[in-house]
């Protein structure tokens, strides 16, 4: 079962950690796994892209165009930048919580419209899910767990035992935040009902 993932978002959203966990889950599940991060120049607020690949033997840490099975986007605009990477039967999960870039908030650029986002991603993928996970994370009392909740959403679509995920999450999140992250993961798993 070869799987290529993209995890994208905005610096500060916890995408890197989510990608680290996803890569390690792959290894723990018995795959070869690789990951590659591309960070913007800014400490905060830049685009962040992580490639994660699972397989019997993974060579390049980056997927090629048209090779990605799962796009996990923490922010809608960032998902749009990735459409060329998607396989026609890919799965796209978008956190419906736009974070407009400074050029947009100051009126020099325009944020793409909802129809454009939905239309482009639907056309480019096989399954498209759009959920405001940020809002659901806030309801748990800590908006920072949005990354783990999104992993929960993804995990619900993959046939791996939740225990592998939870063990790995335990390893990566600070112990005092473990409980809220565990709840976020489990809540995320329930968000997509097919």
């Amino acid at each position: 079962m070869d799987r290529n993932f993209l995890v994208v978002g905005v610096g500060g959203q916890g995408t890197i950690l989510a990608g680290d966990i996803l890569a390690e889950v792959g290894m723990s599940a018995g795959f070869d796994a690789k990951k590659s991060d591309i960070l913007g120049l800014a400490i905060r607020s830049g685009s962040v892209v992580s490639h994660i690949r699972w397989g019997r033997e993974v060579h390049s840490p980056m997927s090629m165009l048209g090779q990605v099975d799962y796009l996990l986007a923490f922010e809608p605009l960032e998902s749009l930048r990735m459409v060329q990477y998607l396989k026609p039967d890919s799965t796209v999960i978008v956190n419906d919580y736009p974070i407009p870039p400074v050029g947009v908030t100051t009126g020099q650029m325009e944020y793409p419209g909802r129809e454009q986002i939905d239309g482009t991603l639907k056309a480019a993928s096989g399954r498209y899910y759009k959920i405001n996970v940020t809002e659901k994370a806030s309801q748990l009392g800590n908006v920072k767990v949005v990354n783990i909740m999104l992993l929960g959403v993804l995990s619900g679509l993959l046939d791996l035992a939740p225990a592998v995920w939870e063990r790995t999450i335990e390893k990566y999140v600070p112990s005092k935040l473990l409980e809220v992250n565990r709840r976020a993961f489990r809540a995320g798993r329930e968000l997509i009902v097919e």
Binding site: D32, A33, K34, L41, A124
Partner: protein, 611 residues
Amino acid sequence: MKEILSGNEAIARGAYEAGIEIATGYPGTPSSEIIKTIALKYGNDIYTEWSTNEKVAMDAGAGAAYSGRRTLVTTKQVGMNVLSDSLMYAVYTGMEAGLVVVTADDPGLFSSQNEQDNRWYARLAKIPLLEPADSQEAKDYVILGIELSEKFDTPVLVRTVMRTSHSKSVVELGARPEGRSEIGPFKRDPAKYNCTASNARRMHPRVESRIREIAAFADTLAINRIEWRDRSLGFITGGVLYNYLLDVFPEASILKLGMTHPLPQKLIRQFAAEVEQLIVLEELDPVLEEQIRAMGIEVRGKDIFPPCFELLPDEIKRYTGEAGLLKQTPEPGPEQSSASTGPSDVPQLPTRSPVFCAGCPHRSTFYLLKKMKLPVAGDIGCYNLGTLPPFEAQHTMGAMGASVGVLHGMSLAGLPENRVCTIGDSTFFHSGMAPLVNMVHNGSRGVVILMDNSVTAMTGHQDHPGVDWAVIEQRKAKKVDLEAVVRAIGVEKIEVVDAFKIKEVEAGLKECLDFDGPSVLITRGQCIFVSRNPQPPYHVDLEKCIACHMCFRVGCPAIGQSAERYEKNKKFKSHIDPTLCIGCDICRQVCPTGAITPPGESASKESSSNG
């Protein structure tokens, strides 16, 4: 036991398993995580430090290795230019214990001022060069590097690129050799360790014979290996490109070089003789290609692949496709799927250009520099973001510490206007002190704006000599007083101002500009990652906001438009994003109507300034 590690974490692990006892470096993307990881994970066994600059790190590494301790020195690719001065003598002397230098290169210029290919340094210095393809090899090659260093009595260069340093892959962990090495007393052997010309004359022939011995050894080295597959195409490559190639050309034969200098000539000839078409796949310069051609072998390379930027799998596919080397696959491949969602279907998307963080202490200075329209020589650090809109107030930038020397040159040229330079605290200690001494001694005129945010910020918040901790915050260190250093250098005009008070910065800058001689303005204000003290977010009183957008001029990511228009100019009034604002107060100081206030404070309170 297996772990999934980044290339940099794997190098740190390699240092541990190689029995390295000293690790030095200066931060620089993409190398910075090596020293930090060693300090956090292997700090009991390995001493770490962020040295003042790369040359100091290399000298310290040489001294430690002369004294019998295995040593690692880390740098980013441009830091190698600073480091190389001292590498060149260690090449002549050799050491008592192994010494590995890691250079993390940046093809693609993710975070560097140039795209130089540091493989040339191995040729210049005549030392072995190892290039790992993934994290496992990154770990293994540090261990092998120490072995080669001790076997041949030479420093060894290990080169990564951003993709090897920042990619993660699975690594099999090993053990560290037991015990600490017994050392001392210091070996007094000037014939070996003193490069005075008469000694160096004897050393140079040894450097030449040594690299010939290593070249012969390269033919037997297991990390240089041929993978025979279809022989119509044969690629010679090294580093991460090997892994890309396996994805794009799974059928082709590959000569995979783990050691890319000196070259294994026998192996190359054997490979070249048995493939129909020989191609060198290398990013940036034709370093391998030219050497192989000089061996009299017909080879292709830079006629297929450009000398600029990365050669990711998609690019390899594209360029080899254009050269007619890639057989088209019949099944629906990436081309077909991407065609339906190709670039033509995706309109221009708004970019996320880098901006100063909300609460950044550099903001006030660039707000003023833009307003005052001064020529600004810039330097390397977060403050280089002052180059971008809305400030566009940094007009040169080239290398660490260069701004102060460039400012001096502007003074020498006799410009008709006054001028300033910007330099961060860490960069000043790195290489800003010598040019400031030069300014003082040679009677220069200009303002050095020393932006003291108490950290080496852009590379991920490392310490520097001006702070009281070292590598990890719990480890205390002696703080060097920046102001005292500037005074001791002989600067007669020094102003120290609070970076979060625009009027104070402005007054200090004017004082310095009026001074007939070199002056230093220290703008002091902690990086938000140092202070970690967010204040409650400010808000905009929409009754008072006149949509003048003065607050946009401070370029804060927390400030944008609200949904409400001001009736007179029909523009949207301002809004502060409470999730981003940390209450630094800068925007309040530029608001002409007092519409911006901290929470709980009445908006009727008088605005202190319109900047």
